[in-house]
């Protein structure tokens, strides 16, 4: 694939992530933080996010499957996930977490299960998309191109 085309498609893809609300401006912050001294910053953070979130989601599933759900355990996990997702700009995960927390407060087990599913769904979506994004970036870098800056249009 032509480098320019690849760059274009990366741009379009990134844009689509914003338009779909999967990412928000916080992700731009991350991208801003990425410079020569720290060229892989975004992917590092996001990878950390993935690791962290996988663990949290696992813990959440376990906690919610207990006979008696200990919401004191569940809530901090959700809070954690909310903080992380908010930090990397995974907007839809964050929003799902907000809803999740409100049901934690109500101690509504059934709704929490639903929320967990929702969070998972959003998480896998953003994970999938971001991995694709990084792949695209890697391809561009591999072909010796620059990663185009995302326009401040969102």
């Amino acid at each position: 694939m032509d480098l320019v085309q690849m760059q274009k498609s990366l741009q379009d893809y990134t844009k689509s992530l914003f338009l779909e609300g999967i990412l928000d401006s916080q992700f731009l912050q991350l991208q801003q933080l990425q410079d020569e001294s720290n060229p892989d910053f975004v992917s590092q953070v996001v990878t950390l996010f993935f690791q962290d979130s996988d663990r949290i989601l696992n813990d959440l599933s376990l906690s919610l499957d207990q006979q008696v759900v200990d919401f004191k355990k569940v809530d901090p996990h959700v809070h954690q996930l909310k903080g992380s997702s908010s930090s990397i700009g995974a907007q839809r995960v964050k929003n799902a977490c907000v809803v999740f927390r409100s049901f934690c407060e109500q101690q509504n087990v059934e709704a929490c299960h639903r929320c967990l599913q929702q969070v998972k769904q959003e998480y896998y979506l953003v994970k999938n998309r971001l991995e694709t994004l990084f792949k695209l970036e890697q391809q561009i870098v591999a072909s010796g191109g620059m990663i185009p800056a995302v326009e401040l249009g969102f």
Binding site: S25, Q29, L33, D52, H79, G83, S87, I88
Partner: protein
Amino acid sequence: MVCEMETDQIEEMDVEVLSSMWPENVGTEADKQFNVEKPAGDLDTLKEVTIEEKPTIADLTRLPELMNSTQQGSSQLTNLVKQWEYMQDNAVRLLREELKNLNRQREEAEAKELKIIEEYKFESNEPENVPVLDETSDLFRRFRQKKRDALVDSKKIEIYEEFDTVAYWKQKALNLEKMLEASTERERRLVEKLSESLKTMESQSAPVQELTQNLERAEGFLHFILQNAPIVMGHQDKDLRYLFIYNKYPSLREQDILGKTDVEIFHGGGVKESQDFKREVLEKGKASKREITFTTDLFGSKTFLIYVEPVYNKAGEKIGINYMGMEVTEQVDKREKMAKLREDNAVRKAMESELNKTIHITEETMRAKQMLATMSHEIRSPLSGVVGMAEILSTTRLDKEQRQLLNVMISSGDLVLQLINDILDLSKVESGVMKLEATKFRPREVVKHVLQTAAASLKKSLTLEGNIADDVPIEVVGDVLRIRQILTNLISNAIKFTHEGNVGIKLQVISEPSFARDNTLTADTEEQEQNGLTETSVWICCDVWDTGIGIPENAIPCLFKKYMQASADHARKYGGTGLGLAICKQLVELMGGQLTVTSRVNEGSTFTFILPYKVGTSDDYSDDQDEFSDMADHQSEPDDTAEGYFQFKPLLGSIYSNGGPGIGNDFLPHKVMLTSPIKLMNSFVADPSNNTGQSEMLQLENGGYVDESKLETSSGHCPESAHQYENGNGRCFSKESESCSSSQASSEGGTLEMESELTVSSHREEEKAETDLKETSKPKILLVEDNKINIMVAKSMMKQLGHTMDIANNGVEAITAINHSSYDLVLMDVCMPVLDGLKATRLIRSYEETGNWNAAIEAGVDIKTLENEQVCVRSTNRLPIIAMTANTLAESSEECYANGMDSFISKPVTLQKLRECLQQYLH
């Protein structure tokens, strides 16, 4: 005998004649007629004889004999017939008589019946009185009906039967006799009944006796009443002399009363009134009642209800009065009490409903305000993002048009942010969340700094003046931040509306104003200061005056109202939110003072606020090392701290000059000409809630004069000096700089001599410049955050902003870190495991206040290291702690402030927010 003989003769004759002389029907008729009386056997015998006689043979010899005897028999027969006829007549006559008699009797009976009926009819007119007879009359009506039927029957008999037969009349007589008997019987029964009812009548005649008894009882009752009723009754003649009196509790004997008038008997209040009342009644001739309270020696104060009626003689002349009095003292008391109670109740109810209404309105208002505050808060975060991004954008390469647009965008954003901050301020004051701090400060320096700051951003050629009367204490205690906020607000207002001339601040001590008279604070400060009292109050009047456009009189009343400006025209021309003065007024009132304004159009305005301050004496400083150094400074430079006049003139080559000698020269090196736009922190608003800091940014275009210290501030290079964070915002320049100078004197020996000649503010700048040159160490920042990703992001951001950070993963780690080394800024996550940010902050603040970690140890935090001296010194200063909140309800900004945090950043953290925060808190 004759009769029998005749019969025999006839039998014989029949045999001879062969046929009977009698027409057959007569014989049978007669037989029938007499069947009743004659036995049947006789008739039979005759028939047998007739049959036996038939075969007899006639004898001619014996015929004459027989003829004779026949003639004899015929005459005898004729005789007999005559006799029979006679007897018949006689019987008829007798029967007639009898009939007549009976008729008469019947008529009599009927008449009697009629009479009785009439009687009954008369009596049945009032059947309710004699119910027994009612029935009887019914009965009688029935009888009468029956009787009429009987009469009709007998008439029929008359028609169809012969009158002339004896049997018939006998029959009739018998019938009548029976009827008579029945009627007699009825009569008897009626008479019986009559006698019966007569008897009952007799027994009913008792009521008369009963009435008599009743009367007797009533009489007894009246006697009883008279004996026991708690009333006074009297009769007085027309001269109102007592002729008769009855009193339940006689304390006066009859001779004391009778023949005398009220006035002659009693003395005291009410006696005259009652006498007059009686006279009035007597004159008007109309009975009436009145309540009169007597206060006599005889029975004290008592209220009587008196009824008086006139008495007339038979001729209709008034001869006197009857009066009746009843003691109603208790009842009157009760009634009055009840009335009072009712009145109180009504008042209370009215107040209650009024209060409820007010509460309701207040609640509504509070809700609305709360909503406004919440909304403002919610708006502020994204807005600061917008403005921040715009600012970042402005640093990129832009063409001229883009830059212009961007500048408009930034200034508009700043305005909105200012407005929101003002709203938040106001709602804080109104909801009572705003807490006042009591810190020592020097009014002169505050004034000076406010003017300095104003001068620094001045774009007009105005002279700023500060005038402080000699009697204003050097140090007072109050909320310096708020006072500075008020001053700054008023000054910036004054500058805004003044195009040429002067703007100034004048401070003087006044006596306690009338609106605070009831306050226990006294205003006689001088005397008390001399007496060495540790804490007294002083009222200082502060005028902020200008020679500006002035305010039209009609606009003054709404000047302090929210969102109101003198006119829409002004708003357009001068901008502003219209909240500044409202905030000032609220703040002044919150501190127990008063803000007023006088103004003349085109001549200028003067805003005056009067505030009470506490005055501490020098004894206070001994326990405060920092303040002690202040004193040392103060003693070495007595002229400076007591300086009463400052002037900042828009001179070429110097932004401001000070009244002190040679000061102007000292400022020269710090004057910098700027050629590029630079962001300036102004210190107008010293409210910690202005955490975004953007509201305080002013943009100076090319050629603006800038104090060097400001330049340093904006560039973010700050000396390692925690002393600047007094009150968490680093704006108390004077005190800070002075403390800086003393504490750092040893390390900056070279500058020491110079400092002694510098003004207070120049200390700081000089010092800063020095430290900036000598010490390049960066401020130490501690990030307290448990989320790895957040840490990574924040760290990277800090790196880009040119800072490094230490990390603590929870509150306990944070406290340990703070205990081990000193930090200039702490970014504290609110929600953390082990120990959350709010608690950690509280413990840190407690440490700062007490100098020990006891509270933390109590809370279970393991503090291993002993406090070293350095920490001890630091503990007197406030470490800026910035909360990082997730913008949820549980992590409200209010709570952050309440727990001792200085400001907050809403998550997710952005470069912009961090930068602003560092700009505000790292100088």
